[in-house]
Amino acid sequence: MENRSLVSIAQYSREKILYMLDMAKEFEKKPNRKLLEGRVVATLFFEPSTRTRLSFETAANRLGARVIGFTDPKVTSSSKGETLKDTILMVSNYADIIVMRHYLEGAARYASEVAPIPIVNAGDGANQHPSQTMLDLYSIYKTQGTLENLNIYLVGDLKYGRTVHSMIQAMRFFNPTFHFIAPDELRMPEEYKQYCQEHHIKYMEHTEFNEDIIADADILYMTRVQRERFTDLMEYERVKNVYILKNEMLKNTRPNLKILHPLPRVHELAYDVDENPKAYYFQQAKNGLYAREAILCDVLGITLDEVKADSNK
């Protein structure tokens, strides 16, 4: 059988991305279904991530599946020295899908090679987190009506933020213009700028973050600037207040602008932004449910046509 696992957003073609967004749209119309009735979804969280786990488990529950799993590796055999392969093969005996989060990079790829059932990567270290990317894309698609020709501004930690790296990869099909706004220590790594050049993706870099810079933005994607990322803490103190979005900065922005953030936020989004209709981060998280329902169905081979037929039931 062909391995239907979702390990990395890079494995999705342009057509597949649009197909998955169409499927997510169906689930938004009608989130509660019985498409996975009688199936078992295992959520294996070798590293805690409450937000992602709740989202996947809600998606599974709303599709009628049952959920097994663990939320803390301390209670599992991996703390006794069991290999990942053994854990995966053992759980494969019980479940129809494994959704896994792991602190080691490449863990999901390896699991997908040894498991007889599909693996959904819910984050492997700093590497990939494709369901996050799909919900980001769905949020963009839904609020802008298209993924084509958008001005996307990525702000904050562009060095370690895997969400922004995956976003660049996924958007390569849709002729975006990126603006990278970050302090020097956290600027976009060379390999991703090279990636942009290879794929003819336009980009500009800024260290300043103010009203004028963001005036042409369609999407403002904020990320957290984390203290622990800095080798020089004086540098952190200097920049920590520079990359904060305040409501007054949004006055002259485009009417279609939407503000995204993978959450949790700390202080990079001032609380007065929440009331602005351009703030979209909580709806964005909700879109994660629909994107993940689509992913769970797709890895099990349930097609968009079947989902559409089910919508009319």
């Binding site: 990942l84 080691l104 490449g106 790829r109 390896y110 590497n127 390999e191």
Partner: protein, 153 residues
């Protein structure tokens, strides 16, 4: 003179492979990479021989052994300058150079300590992304690294 002496040092080969132009400090790594420590082939190892190209060089003659391209490509990590002469009936019938392989399986370690391959009993796998710069990408953690900085397993 020198040339003659060198020839006297290493016995002529009827059939087999001469691995030439090995950097002196890599001779024994090449021996183990090609699995020459096991088996019954007659092997002559020369080291610190004079070389026009390298100054000093190592050389290995293996009787009745012919290496596959996959075996040869393993050498690209430690000794990309190596040349192989295939000998049949005392004649050099073919010369081979070490090619940079498209993939490296189970040969080198991933430099990323957070990579699954460094934490699980499993073979590593790398794909070449840029031959000229000897750049390889880990199949698992997707980190790009240069062959010159990679360590053998």
């Amino acid at each position: 003179m020198n040339q003659k002496k060198q020839e006297l040092q290493v016995a002529a080969l009827e059939n087999g492979t001469v691995i030439d132009h090995i950097p002196c400090d890599k001779v024994f790594t090449v021996v183990s990479l090609l699995g020459l420590t096991d088996g019954h082939s007659k092997i002559t190892i020369g080291n610190n021989l004079d070389s026009k190209k390298l100054g000093k060089k190592g050389l290995i003659k293996v009787a009745d052994r012919f290496f596959t391209d996959e075996e040869i490509s393993r050498l690209s990590v430690v000794a990309p300058s190596v040349k192989l002469n295939i000998i049949r009936n005392y004649e050099v019938v073919e010369k081979k150079q070490v090619e940079k392989p498209e993939t490296l399986r189970g040969i080198v370690r991933c430099a990323n300590p957070k990579c699954i391959t460094n934490n699980e009993p499993m073979p590593t796998l790398f794909h070449c992304i840029d031959k000229e710069h000897r750049a390889y990408k880990c199949h698992y953690c997707e980190k790009e690294q240069c062959l010159d900085e990679m360590k053998l397993l």
